[in-house]
Symmetry: C2
Subunit: 120 residues, 2 copies
DNA sequence: CTGAATCCCTGCCGATACTG
DNA sequence: CAGTATCGGCAGGGATTCAG
């Protein structure tokens, strides 16, 4: 439903692409904001493989500090990309999984991958 | 040809996606590096519509300073996204146009647009 | 175990001024 | 016209420490 007004024409000619300065409401900016920052795409890739706890993510990305991991998980949760589920009991565990919106980032990452792969 | 080893499986299971920290040689990072920074996607969008001179770009994006415009054009040229053509004579003009690689950013921006548009 | 708070350092980007 | 040089403010992100 996003493009019924432009058909096959694509983005450059979409009337809503007429902005003349960066705007947080531009769809492209929204997506880039969700993926912004170091480590973010690696985290999404990890979660595309399945749900993970905080420590599983830390183990999967050993060079990522707790602070940045926590920051990125908050950013992605805020962006609607993933859910957190706190499990009661001991030791405390929090499990993260992609939302349906988050799973739709798969094709986006694939598009980014494909373009970059052609340059190698 | 980028994915013959993974068929339809897609990125998360590609063996080359096994990196555990951000790497400049990761295809996703290459693409994000090309698009990095404020104004970059707007410049690419503008050039997807056709070639532009420095001042045409400045007129299209009035809030963009000369310095940043110059920085972005250099970054995109370095990334192989666009070519510059200096025209001799007076006044001096430099024309920018997308390379074939640069034109292939169209589908990438479209993927970014589509994901962001669903969130509105 | 899962984070939040703090500190510091670096790089981005905007403004301004200047050159071929 | 098409840039480059310089400076300053601010946000990103790493290390460390503290808390629920």
């Amino acid at each position: 439903m996003a493009h019924q007004t432009v058909g096959q024409a694509g983005l450059p000619d979409d009337p809503r692409a007429a902005v003349t300065e960066p705007s947080p409401s531009c769809p492209v900016e929204i997506t880039l904001a969700a993926l912004r920052g170091r480590w973010t795409t690696l985290l999404v890739r990890e979660l595309l493989r399945g749900e993970r706890t905080f420590s599983e993510l830390r183990d999967a990305l050993p060079a990522l500090s707790d602070k940045v991991l926590s920051d990125r998980l908050a950013q992605l949760t805020e962006a609607g990309v993933l859910d957190r589920e706190r499990r009661s009991g001991w030791p405390p565990r929090t499990c993260y999984r992609l939302t349906p919106q988050g799973r739709r980032l798969g094709p986006v990452l694939q598009a980014l991958w494909d373009w970059g792969a052609e340059r190698l």
